[in-house]
């Protein structure tokens, strides 16, 4: 393999070409153009005027008053804060439920383990929109949860528990959608865990908690870190869950970006928020790369 004939280099370039060109031209270039757009001026009905302006980024923190002076505004910062908060809530809920489940699966016999992993993988690959929509039927007015209350007369006509269109509904939606991404990497770590170490801990009179916190947790840390980031990152930029379950008032970064491109038609501002979201994601991915470098490459699918 060391010395390739000369035409092999050409052949390699030709083989790599299509994939690299497509991703480069239709992914890298668009993101770069969007970055440029975020520094342009907005036209009233979508599109941009080609003159430099930092307005889009200023708009995040300040609102422009009628006399053209700026006033500090928290509206968009609240949306960023909500995105982080809900992504964190979803991550923590996924971890609390996901770890014990992954532990349980890792201790099943091999055949059963694969069955469990298949069962957890299936919903993840089915349509996110449809799965989120299902929660409207569960949490919504007259939904599955409210029905028994109504039947028992605890909820009158026109009354509602108010589960939908809330931070709670979004958090449930995010947890539901991304929890397979928590279970799978933790399972991958736990499956490789050498149980003789756990036994050694017990033999040396460590308590259950000590064995757990000093042996199990450190050894499954790569899986836990991977799982947390795999849930946190998509939750941070989620669109479907806040859009369907949060309604118009509970915006997150993803819905804010979409809103700027559709209803508000402020492309530079939408681009700026998208760039900020991308920056957050890149920062977290770099953290992940650092964490993963120490550990072996994680096997994601099984």
């Amino acid at each position: 393999m060391a010395n390739l004939p000369e035409n092999a280099t050409l052949r390699r370039s030709l083989a790599l070409g299509p994939a690299v060109l497509i991703v480069g031209a239709f992914m890298l270039v668009p993101v770069a153009i969007m970055g440029v757009y975020s520094f342009l001026e907005a036209k009233s009905f979508g599109g941009v005027t080609w003159s430099f302006s930092g307005d889009a980024y200023v708009q995040l923190f300040y609102e422009r008053l009628l006399d053209d002076s700026l006033r500090l505004s928290s509206g968009y910062l609240i949306i960023i804060a909500r995105s982080f908060f809900l992504a964190l809530v979803a991550t923590v809920s996924c971890l609390i439920v996901g770890f014990p489940v992954a532990w349980f699966i890792a201790r099943r016999p091999l055949g059963q383990r694969n069955m469990w992993i298949l069962l957890i993988t299936i919903p993840f690959w089915t349509n996110q929109l449809v799965r989120t929509f299902a929660w409207i039927i569960i949490l919504g007015r007259n939904g599955v949860i409210e029905a028994p209350f109504r039947w028992a007369g605890l909820l009158g006509e026109g009354e509602t528990l108010g589960l939908m269109y809330s931070d709670f509904a979004i958090a449930v939606g995010l947890t539901y959608t991304f929890i397979p991404l928590m279970v799978l990497p933790i399972y991958a770590s736990l499956e490789k865990l050498d149980f003789s170490l756990v036994e050694a801990g017990a033999d040396l009179y460590s308590s259950r908690w000590e064995t757990f916190s000093r042996i199990v947790i450190p050894l499954s840390k790569p899986g836990i870190v991977a799982g947390c980031l795999l849930v946190f990152i998509p939750s941070l930029g989620a669109f479907i869950q806040p859009d369907l379950l949060g309604g118009g008032k509970k915006l997150m970064l993803g819905t804010l970006v979409q809103f700027q491109f559709s209803t508000a038609r402020n492309w530079p501002f939408g681009s700026a928020i998208a760039m900020i979201l991308l920056a957050f994601v890149i920062a977290f991915l770099m953290l992940y790369a650092r964490a993963a470098r120490g550990a072996k490459a994680m096997e994601m699918r099984r």
């Binding site: 790599l16 239709f26 992914m27 069962l119 919504g140 756990v198 017990a202 491109f261």
Partner: protein
């Protein structure tokens, strides 16, 4: 699941007492089954209500399959489903071909400068949040004035399908033994013959898995299509979204159920394709 679940085969191994004492936390099994219920009940509820007779989803009036009949007869739904299929088939074909070539070049092309960077570039669509990809693609198409109708959607889908098709193909290539290819060359087969008669047949399960993954991802995509597709180029998920927006009727549930069943079938098929059969291991 039967009572056999309770018997941990590991009990036959020495030292199991300790393992059981530590590993078998009471209630863990209950939690795991509750978790499965949490994963599948919403899907079950959605499908169950698609058989509701009345036109308000959440008020059960009786069993009926009329909504399926209505959904299947609806011209708009059929058009959207057709668009979804056209986009998914085209995107799968193009992305799988590109991904196969790229995977071959990266796995069999030796070491070269920029390999890691190229690998990073190909997996870029996995890292960028979907909403960012969606608006960036919208900005890009509008700035260069590209209006190909469904073509725009196909381009966008092909782009994000490439890494999904690439992953299983690359995994397969790296697990493959190169001795057969060497043997073929030693027996004076040309490079093309080696590729066609040895490498490609061995690689086929990976290619198939990659294509299936790309197809599922394309069929399920919603956000990117929502932003990129023009009025007549709506795909099924985008159409479902607009239906949800207009008010939920069991018809939405019926269409959604069809889409769900389709994905579940695909993923299960994918699972059994990538499962290595005992005795046919290539290592």
């Amino acid at each position: 699941m039967t009572a056999q679940d309770d018997i941990v085969p590991a009990a036959a191994l020495p030292g199991t007492k300790v393992r059981r004492a530590f590993g078998e936390v009471p209630g863990l099994k209950t939690l795991a089954f509750c978790f499965l219920a949490f994963l599948y009940l919403p899907i079950g509820v959605l499908v169950a209500y698609s058989f509701n007779e009345g036109n308000i989803v959440m008020v059960w009036t009786g069993f009926s399959t009329d909504w399926y009949a209505q959904a299947l007869a609806d011209a708009d739904i059929r058009k959207a489903a057709m668009n979804s299929l056209i986009v998914a088939v085209s995107a799968t074909a193009i992305s799988t071909t590109c991904a196969t070539l790229a995977a071959l070049a990266l796995a069999r092309g030796g070491a070269f400068r920029g390999k890691v960077a190229l690998l990073g570039l190909i997996s870029l669509p996995l890292m960028v949040p979907e909403i960012v990809t969606a608006v960036a693609t919208l900005v890009f198409f509008s700035s260069i004035g590209l209006r190909l109708g469904l073509g725009n959607v196909i381009i966008a889908h092909t782009t994000f399908c490439i890494p999904f098709a690439f992953m299983p193909i690359r995994a397969r290539l790296e697990g493959m033994d190169t001795t057969l290819e060497q043997a073929s060359r030693d027996l004076y087969a040309s490079d093309w013959e080696t590729f066609r008669l040895v490498t490609l047949p061995l690689l086929m399960p990976g290619v198939l898995a990659g294509a299936m993954l790309a197809f599922v991802i394309s069929m399920d995509d919603f956000i990117i299509t929502l932003m990129v597709a023009g009025a007549g180029d709506t795909t099924l998920p985008v159409y479902i979204y607009s239906m949800i927006r207009q008010g939920i009727t069991p018809e939405v549930n019926a269409v959604s159920s069809i889409l769900l069943l389709f994905s579940i079938a695909m993923v299960t098929a994918y699972w059994f394709t990538t499962r290595q059969k005992p005795g046919r291991n290539i290592h």
